[in-house]
Symmetry: C2
Subunit: 462 residues, 2 copies
Amino acid sequence: MPGPSPLDLRPLLEARSVAIVGASASAHKIGGRPVAYLKRSGFAGRIVPINPDRKEIQGLQAFPTLRATEPVDIAVIVTPAEGVEAAVDDCLAAGTKAMVLLSSGFAETGAEGRRRQEELAKKAGAAGSVLLGPNCLGVFNAWIGLTATFTTALDEAMPSKGGFSYFGQSGALGAYWMNLAMASNLGVAKWITTGNEAHISLADALNYLANDAETKVIGGYIEDIKNPGAFRAAAQAAARNGKAVMAIKAGRSAIGARAVTAHTGADAGDDKVYQKLLDECGIVRVDSLAAMNETARLMLSPRGPCSGQRLAVVSVSGGAGVLIADAASDVGLDMPDFNAADKAALKACIPSFATAQNPLDITGSVVADTSNFARTLDLVTNSPEHDVALIFIGSMRSIAEDLVAGIKRAAAGSKKPLAVIWIGAMADTVAALEAAGVPTFDEIPPAMRALARAKVLRGNAR
Amino acid sequence: MPGPSPLDLRPLLEARSVAIVGASASAHKIGGRPVAYLKRSGFAGRIVPINPDRKEIQGLQAFPTLRATEPVDIAVIVTPAEGVEAAVDDCLAAGTKAMVLLSSGFAETGAEGRRRQEELAKKAGAAGSVLLGPNCLGVFNAWIGLTATFTTALDEAMPSKGGFSYFGQSGALGAYWMNLAMASNLGVAKWITTGNEAHISLADALNYLANDAETKVIGGYIEDIKNPGAFRAAAQAAARNGKAVMAIKAGRSAIGARAVTAHTGADAGDDKVYQKLLDECGIVRVDSLAAMNETARLMLSPRGPCSGQRLAVVSVSGGAGVLIADAASDVGLDMPDFNAADKAALKACIPSFATAQNPLDITGSVVADTSNFARTLDLVTNSPEHDVALIFIGSMRSIAEDLVAGIKRAAAGSKKPLAVIWIGAMADTVAALEAAGVPTFDEIPPAMRALARAKVLRGNAR
């Protein structure tokens, strides 16, 4: 049973010293990864490998037990399931404030495993400590380089510091969440995987993130919510503090619900009840990590949040303009027309056979002359009827530099958020636009859905 | 008004000689691109630049008019709108069987433009010729290197020969369609953009593709259907000949419909009427080119069509397995469980804390030992309760080669279609799997929707 919520996770997420119980000399083994990550993450505190068989691990002094060294803030426990009780006893005897239990083999295997994890949680609670897991992937705090995890997501690089945070039962999905954030150059704040939730639950994780200064946008993966009252209170705190919260609720289907139980021993529950709870919490539901990432990129754009209020659309393809209008209508976004003065000015920027209206089809003639593109953007980004300028481009790799320059100039000359949908863009084109604070997408429907979600999130967090 | 359907497009798509009226010496100008493309596409026939001011264009002999040289099968007309009438007269006087009118400035600009294009169509029809466009991007036949188009999609490379064909009013969307096909290494058969449809309409294009031996899967972009009876007959021919047809119908929304008229002068009509027509035609509607491409990759997989009948799911993440089950349920796909014997055999391949059921969570322990992964796949790909094996992997770049080898071995040892969803895969990993005939996706919901569409398409074309 999870403890009385909210448990305070600051000792866990803001630890200044970390022991790894079951530390391995190999940086690729699960007992070695947390040590290796801590060494290269910029973590400024003590790193204390615990291993009865070695005096040194990855260049650090190792100790046989936690009691053999000075007290540490948190312990990451990586031992096999059968050694976990002894490890927890050792941690508690040494006064450890928080334990991260990465080991599997508890509630997800049946009643006996559940009983054992409940026993561990009871012990931790009685000692005034908190316990994360078991069967979880730990926590990560990008702002202090705290890598209390063996996730392979940190194998190649560490994410940059930023405002996007994760909470969820699943560590693997958390890892993919982190990979996607890194791939789209989205800065990360905190990352909390709760696994079987013997003690710390999603409500505690959300409560921590709701009150965390670095966290701006929160993405969650939910199999079940063990204490809905505490979860609701945490979500309310998030809204009060201006944080946007999205979540995947897994186990909607019968087979999905059965898979949830096999995964973390949880009961996925009645989806209608969960949808009602999420709605009450102002949490926007998404069906994929990609959707979560796309929305976060809009919310965390360096030029300020970009969302789907009153869109002005400029397209190099008439057909794409039509599809954008259809997709906007599907998700309830407005595309008011330009005013008469702007229409007259726009008419001078487009070929004679094109029509000055929203969506504005500047036609493929932009390939022959990109100067009109920049003039068009200047007009559109300053149109009083619109909050956001959305630009569609397809292919056009040979003039990509000119187009990017035009978009950057328009962004610099306007306070209005800009977003780009560019089918077939080169990776460095997307990177250049993102670096200029212009969120960039590769297809129409996902972009429009993300703009609509961002609109709802900004309303909820107001 | 489009001519009596179906017009025979074989003279157009299977031309053995091509004139370019308004040919330019610059390979980057719109009058120069068709010449440049024909020169490097492997087109074996005559290429005849028409230009009154030059004797030579891009190394080829140029002629002042079509009548100054031997008759050609088709003429690509790239002159500005005001010169089009004279160009068409010249073509018809020279006995040209088909004309591709790339010029803009006709029905999309209003009544006078519409009258002019109708006049051109009448002339062409009376002379026994066919006219494509105006305001279109022409045609492409990958099988004979016929590039009667100035689309920038062919700037960098030509698509390989294959079974995927396009028809649609929009040339730009056709270009993006081609870019996506090339990016996903999907072979192309024929490509027909109809623009304003003064003479040749979508029904004629679909009829051609329905009877084309190289075409296996057809993707369409529809703003309007000018002759629904002929279109329905063409779709029926496609179904009879075992071709799968998908389409985007644009202009669903009020603003989208207005944009359609500005784009090609078409009337997007009542979406309910169109949906009914598409349903009657067995055409599966998609909302994006990406969705069309993903479905085509399943249908045209080198190991045979892969679709969403009775899925067996193997996942390295329990959470991802849950999301796959939920997404399968959303789109109506079945995931029956394994039989008792297979469960017993699978139990031996997975960690003791995991459960042998569908979706099968083989857990992240695969990182430590990939041998069980291969054994699991051998069992799953031969399970009698399932038609398709769907494998989920996330990240795991360090063991990607082992995983790909396991999947390839399983594919070689089974006639069952395999598909992979791999979040965070490297591009060469995806390429290796696709080359082995295993369609590979980067997110769960789009993959499941594509599997569901492929299931419907295979049912329709049966």
